[in-house]
């Protein structure tokens, strides 16, 4: 070992020299190291700020007010920050608030008020509900019900998992069900074989059945995902005028949404299993070994307890509330009521909710929606919409079917780069104005945007369900690309067909 000690000699003497350095020199070195590293890590933050500063110092384009130009700049900067994430995303929300007060000159209290509305309340309430539902530990029972119905064949189990995950996710949100069902998928994999290399494809089909089953379901009802609630909020803010009964149709309630979107989710389901099995060839065609062991695990849980029944009943009540009374009291109120009921009944601890919900997200959506409404009020959305349409005109995509497809492709592209809720919050105001300028139905365009934002099958960050399933460590990012593009194509075709053939029957 003598060699190593002698090797350490020069290094040690360097350290001694450093100790002798004056304090000032040390500080300077520390600062320069720090600032270089800091600048490098935060480069996108500075790039975004410089882009913003340049835009603000340029002359305002024709047809735009100074305020609209500021709002547009803020949106662009926020979008860059959403995609590159150099700073925590809730900090972007804070920047939006600061920008509205300092750059736009809005009154602080007005900005504060615009942060909360029913959509944001709904996002917060359903996240709290989501934690409460996951904590009920009903997942083993659900898994057992699935395999009892489907038998032990791999194809049938995967289809069963997609259907059940989807049906649940369409009501309680995709992230909830993904978190609940993830252990089910992994347990089936690990009970089949301990060696991950032998079950790679099996793991892929099982886990993607959960992730995509949940993702396609997220469009089904307003409570399927935050983005749906955001779109409903935009429709109300943009088009509803209490003094004009004509505009009543822009209040989309729970049942109306389901009539539009639920059939699409059901049609997509079989394609999920089909595409997965065409892409990954699972190593095992039959999972009877795993199923037998799973049964033993479930039986050790004992019969259903009173608390299990109470939580199921509470959840059904929330569902009934959303369907029947949410137009009167608001969807957010029902979600909050449900979360409160779980807390009062003692079925979930506040500590669990507190650590399970990312409150920054609630905040972020509030700020993004507030900025979206400013986009409309200052006329910035109108201006972007006109330019967007002028751009599409040469390829004939400025009206009708072409426009629908263009909006869908735009949303799919954006949503694969950032979370889909943020994508809808950013794009919503623009596409709704596009609809107005092009004299298309804002409801059809709005649905196309909200639904296309679920087509983030390509990347891990796209949909919540994909992110959660990826956290299991069994999937590679390239798996998402390999199977995702097929899902995007099939889903887009199904949606455009629905918009073309089915929605006209609903009287839009």
């Amino acid at each position: 070992m003598g060699g190593y000690n002698s090797m350490n000699q020069p290094a040690a003497s360097v350290r001694d020299e450093q100790k002798k350095d004056s304090f000032g020199a040390k500080l300077a070195k520390l600062l320069s190291d720090f600032s270089v590293h800091y600048m490098w890590e935060k480069k996108w933050f500075f790039i975004a700020m410089i882009v913003g500063a340049i835009m603000l110092s340029l002359p305002v384009p024709d047809g735009l007010s100074r305020e609209a130009w500021i709002v547009l700049t803020m949106s662009l900067v926020a979008t860059i920050l959403f995609v590159t994430e150099p700073i925590p995303l809730p900090a972007v929300a804070l920047l939006i608030i600061l920008g509205q007060v300092l750059l736009l000159g809005s009154a602080s209290s007005d900005v504060a008020k615009s942060l909360w509305n029913d959509s944001v309340l709904f996002i917060m309430g359903s996240l709290m509900l989501a934690v409460a539902v996951v904590k009920q530990k009903l997942d083993k029972r659900i898994a057992w019900i699935i395999v009892r119905i489907t038998g032990t064949k791999t194809t049938r189990i995967c289809f069963g998992i997609s259907v059940v995950s989807g049906l649940l996710a369409s009501f309680i949100g995709e992230h909830t069900v993904a978190a609940m069902m993830l252990p089910v998928g992994i347990t089936l994999v690990t009970l089949t074989s301990d060696d991950p290399k032998k079950v790679r494809n099996l793991a892929a089909v099982l886990l993607f059945s959960i992730a995509y089953g949940c993702s396609v379901a997220g469009i089904g009802t307003p409570s399927g995902g935050a983005r749906n609630a955001i779109m409903i909020g935009y429709w109300r803010e943009f088009f509803y005028d209490p003094s004009n009964p004509e505009t009543q149709r822009f209040i989309i309630d729970y049942v109306t949404w389901m009539m539009f979107a639920y059939p699409m989710f059901l049609i997509q389901l079989p394609f999920v299993t089909l595409i997965l099995f065409l892409t990954f060839k699972p190593e095992y065609r039959d999972l009877s070994r795993a199923v037998v062991k799973l049964r033993a695990q479930v039986e050790s849980e004992g019969p259903m307890k009173a608390a299990d029944w109470v939580s199921i009943i509470l959840f059904l009540l929330v569902l009934i509330g959303w369907i029947f009374v949410s137009d009167e009291v608001g969807m957010g109120t029902i979600a909050i009521l449900g979360a409160t009921a779980f807390l009062v009944a003692g079925l979930v601890r506040w500590e669990d909710i507190n650590s399970g919900v990312n409150w920054g997200v609630v905040f972020l959506y509030g700020a993004a929606i507030s900025l979206g409404i400013e986009m409309k009020e200052t006329g910035a959305a109108q201006w972007v919409a006109e330019n967007f349409l002028a751009m599409l005109a040469p390829i004939g995509a400025n009206e009708g079917f072409g426009l629908w497809a263009a909006v869908s492709v735009l949303t799919t592209a954006v949503t694969n780069m950032m979370s889909n809720g943020a994508a809808v919050a950013v794009l919503g105001p623009v596409v709704l104005k596009v609809a107005v300028v092009a004299q298309e139905s804002p409801i059809v365009i709005g649905f196309i945007t909200a639904i296309s934002s679920a087509f983030a099958y390509l990347t891990v960050v796209g949909t919540p369900a994909c992110t959660i399933v990826y956290a299991s460590g069994y999937l590679k990012t390239t798996d998402f690309l390999a199977v995702g593009w097929k899902m995007v194509v099939v889903s887009t075709i199904i949606m455009l067909l629905a918009a073309f053939v089915y929605w006209p029957f609903l009287g839009i």
């Binding site: 190593y4 994430e85 996951v134 992230h175 252990p183 979370s419 919540p464």
Partner: protein
């Protein structure tokens, strides 16, 4: 406060006296081959091996506002292992079943919460009577590269070993999203081994330019080669034919140095041409390419784009950057 400072100082001093190898495992075959190299290199009472798996901190927004930890806790309550632990255990198994490593190992488990996350950093330390230790460490960090570099801050290491994840790109790609190995190699203050297809037994190729730093590198490699019974070869590249005698002189100096240490180089040769292209083509016939890099830090290294980095980026062989 002062007392803990003294303790830390002492701990650092103790650590500096040992040869510590940090092996980053990510479940890939390359990372386990890197571990094999580490186990040969550190197979003596004065060396420690630290196995590290870095898990990126979960981003709540990406999972729709529901923290991923809800899913992780659910997995734990089913008795499932979190990703990473599996990889670390496999690495430990590989180490303990390896020759000469099987002896009595005591076990010590520590756990550190990271930002209130109960699934934060975990550490299992195995020590034997001789004072050697193997540490398994599961770390949470904002990015994988940052996690590895943070780990360096916690305790100095002599060598960091990484498997190459394969996604090296050009300058634009590095600017946008540098590969983990690239980032670590750029910022790490100690030697870095990027393990690629480790064809064993073909020896090390030392690339010298005659500088003091290169000579130190040669000296260290001599020690390492003796440890793992590997062959050594020396090369130097001349930019043009006129300066070839200089290159030959560099090679001769290195050979003399090695012979003085009792190591007989297999080949010693010079090439003429662009340094990094020649090194890469000559390196085809060896298991490892060893290059020296001077102590520049961070950005400077990035913008200067030294020969060492180009070799590291383009070679298909394992590369050791020696600092």
């Amino acid at each position: 406060m002062a007392e803990t400072d003294i303790d830390l100082e002492r701990l650092y001093e103790e650590r500096r006296a040992r040869y510590r190898v940090l092996v980053c495992v990510d479940g890939s075959d390359e990372s386990y081959r890197g571990l094999e190299y580490a186990s040969q290199l550190a197979n003596n009472p004065n060396s420690d091996i630290i196995l590290l798996y870095v898990r990126p901190i979960d981003q709540g927004l990406r999972s729709g506002g529901l923290q991923v930890r809800v899913a992780r806790e659910n997995m734990l309550s089913w008795g499932l292992e979190l990703p990473g632990i599996k990889y670390l255990k496999k690495g430990l198994e590989q180490l303990m079943t390896g020759e000469g490593m099987a002896s009595d190992w005591g076990e010590k488990i520590t756990h550190t919460d990271i930002e209130g996350d109960p699934l934060g950093d975990n550490k299992i330390e195995y020590t034997n009577e001789g004072g050697r230790s193997i540490v398994l460490k599961l770390k949470t960090a904002s990015t994988i590269a940052a996690g590895i570099l943070d780990q360096y801050e916690l305790g100095p290491y002599d060598l960091i070993i990484l498997g190459d994840s394969g996604s090296w790109g050009g300058w634009a790609k590095s600017l946008w999203d540098p590969a983990v190995a690239e980032k670590v190699a750029m910022h790490a203050p100690c030697s870095v081994l990027v393990a690629r297809e480790l064809a064993r037994g073909k020896g090390h190729l030392l690339c010298t330019d005659g500088s003091d730093h290169a000579m130190r590198m040669v000296k260290r490699s001599g020690v390492v080669a003796g440890k793992i019974n590997s062959h050594l070869s020396v090369m130097s590249v001349a930019l043009d034919v006129e300066s070839e005698p200089d290159a030959q002189k560099n090679v001769d100096a290195a050979v003399t140095e090695l012979k003085a240490m009792g190591v007989e180089p297999v080949n010693a040769f010079t090439r003429v041409g662009s340094p990094f292209e020649e090194i890469i083509s000559a390196g085809e016939d060896y298991s490892f390419i060893v290059v020296g890099s001077d102590g520049r830090t961070g950005l400077k290294r990035f913008f200067m784009g030294s020969v060492a980095f180009k070799v590291m980026e383009h070679s298909k062989k394992s590369v050791i950057i020696n600092r």
